[in-house]
């Protein structure tokens, strides 16, 4: 059994997987007091809820996501309102456009960072490689690379992430997120005005053209989704990359296999994203009448679909579900969700990860974890290694 009242946020931040395993076993649809949400943890239930926006709509009253992003976004609306917010991102993030425009950018960014790491002889792959490559790649794709540097983007990300996961309504997290939001709008806002006056083919031109009316209304409509893409666009590739690298370096046999056969890189990427989903939860509303797993939800309930738990469900992944195994039979994971809110940036994230992992392994044949520093994972909604310290000589 599991004592739900005894579970703490800190316990989930340290390692949520034992709690998820117990929930899947004993209480697969359960109210979690420390987060004030219902948690859905089995693969079948998470997948069913993802593809049913009527029973589990994206809009939630008192949503920390809307609060953090300054309004509703494509992730917290359904139907036409969601499509209207998502459509301007298509020209930038569609797979064929990503393939046409982004690999060269990502390769150059990786090469520059690897040069710096080679000179230093050691690195934290989170701060020195995956985060800067990810945020600057994203800034290029979003057309703001000339406005902000990598440290600023990483700082923005941290503030937005603190706000979006603030289910417990911590005032310090709210203040941090709000300050970052104001800074971001002050930095990027003028570009919206420029593009309204003189459109180009970049993302902000598409965003500002998506609605009619005065500039401030157009910005208010687009900005929450813009912030959302900044947030997700860093989380999945940067922290997914750190997880994949940490897993490979902790397992010399699997790492050697990928070095011998770079065609295994995509499998390593998918397995790392499955093993620890960088974005672990999807928040959903629960209208009256919704029943899942035999549970009828109370009025005003909100639920999180725990994709990181579904990705470890033994009913789907077998008895080795908790192991990182790049040779496991191929199966779609839920780290990019599924259904109407399938991640618009999934291919961009995958392209970045495949290039960054392959370039890292190719550049440093003796790459290894620094034995002086243990790899520590942290987080439940957003989970990744806090650092991956390596030696490269």
């Amino acid at each position: 059994m599991i004592d739900l009242d005894a579970v703490t946020v800190d316990e989930l931040e340290r390692d949520p997987y034992p709690v998820y395993a117990a929930l899947r076993e004993h209480a697969p649809v359960a109210y979690m007091p420390c987060l004030d949400v219902w948690m859905v943890t089995r693969w079948a239930d998470v997948e069913a809820a993802c593809i049913d926006p009527v029973a589990f709509p994206a809009h939630v009253e008192h949503s920390p996501t809307d609060r953090a992003l300054g309004g509703v976004s494509m992730m917290t609306t359904d139907g036409e309102p969601a499509k209207q917010r998502r459509r301007p991102f298509d020209p930038t993030l569609r797979p064929r456009n990503v393939e046409a425009l982004m690999p060269g950018v990502v390769e150059r960014l990786c090469a520059g960072r690897l040069d710096a790491i080679a000179a230093a002889g050691r690195a934290d792959l989170v701060a020195d490689y995956f985060e800067p490559v990810s945020v600057v790649s994203l800034a290029h794709a979003m057309g703001i690379a000339d406005l902000v540097d990598a440290p600023t983007l990483v700082r923005w990300f941290a503030g937005l992430a603190a706000g979006v996961s603030n289910y417990e309504d911590d005032p310090a997290k709210t203040a941090h997120c709000d300050a970052v939001g104001r800074e971001l709008e002050a930095t990027v806002g003028p570009r919206f005005a420029e593009r309204l006056a003189a459109p180009t083919d970049d993302l902000i031109s598409h965003l500002v053209a998506a609605t009619a009316g005065p500039l401030e209304d157009r910005v208010a409509f687009a900005m929450p989704s813009f912030k959302l893409v900044l947030l997700g666009g860093l989380q999945e590739p940067a922290h997914g990359g750190a997880t994949i690298a940490a897993c490979l370096l902790a397992d010399p046999d699997q790492c050697a296999a990928v070095r011998r056969d770079p065609d295994l890189v995509p499998a390593a990427v998918e397995e790392g994203l499955r093993w620890t989903a960088p974005i672990g939860n999807l928040l959903r509303g629960v209208p009256p009448g919704t029943v899942l797993g035999g549970v009828s939800f109370p009025v005003d309930a909100r639920a999180i679909l725990v994709v990181s738990s579904a990705n470890r469900d033994r009913e789907v992944w077998g008895p080795t579900a908790d192991l990182f195994d790049i040779r496991r039979p191929r199966h779609a994971h839920l780290s990019f969700a599924t259904g109407p809110h399938y991640c618009i940036g999934h291919h961009f994230a995958r392209v970045q990860l495949r290039i960054a992992i392959a370039a890292l392994l190719e550049r440093f044949p003796r790459l290894r974890l620094d034995p002086a520093h243990e790899v520590v994972f942290r987080g439940h909604e957003y989970r990744s290694p806090t650092a991956v310290r390596v030696l490269v000589d």
């Binding site: 997948e47 995509p266 191929r330 599924t338 999934h346």
Partner: protein, 102 residues
Amino acid sequence: MPWYPTAIAALSPAVPHPVTLGGRSLVLVAWEDAWYALEDRCSHAGCAFSEDGAVEDGRLVCDCHGSEFDLRSGAVRRPPARASVETFEVRSIGSGLEVLVP
């Protein structure tokens, strides 16, 4: 049933490549030294794979709602799609391909 020739020069392996053969809209996909041809229409909401599709680790993914399909059989590998997509036999001829379209 006729075999229709098609060129394969400079196709990216990551995205489905649209071709019209025998009046049918198809996508060609390269994966692990083999070629696959599938109808260019997701069975879920009708999105064109050539516009909104990607090849991810051996699966054809529809960007619209995340449905995934087996390249070989067209079978659903992940909902929300319920029905498989049609697949077509492909053979290599010289430097090109031929696709069998009923």
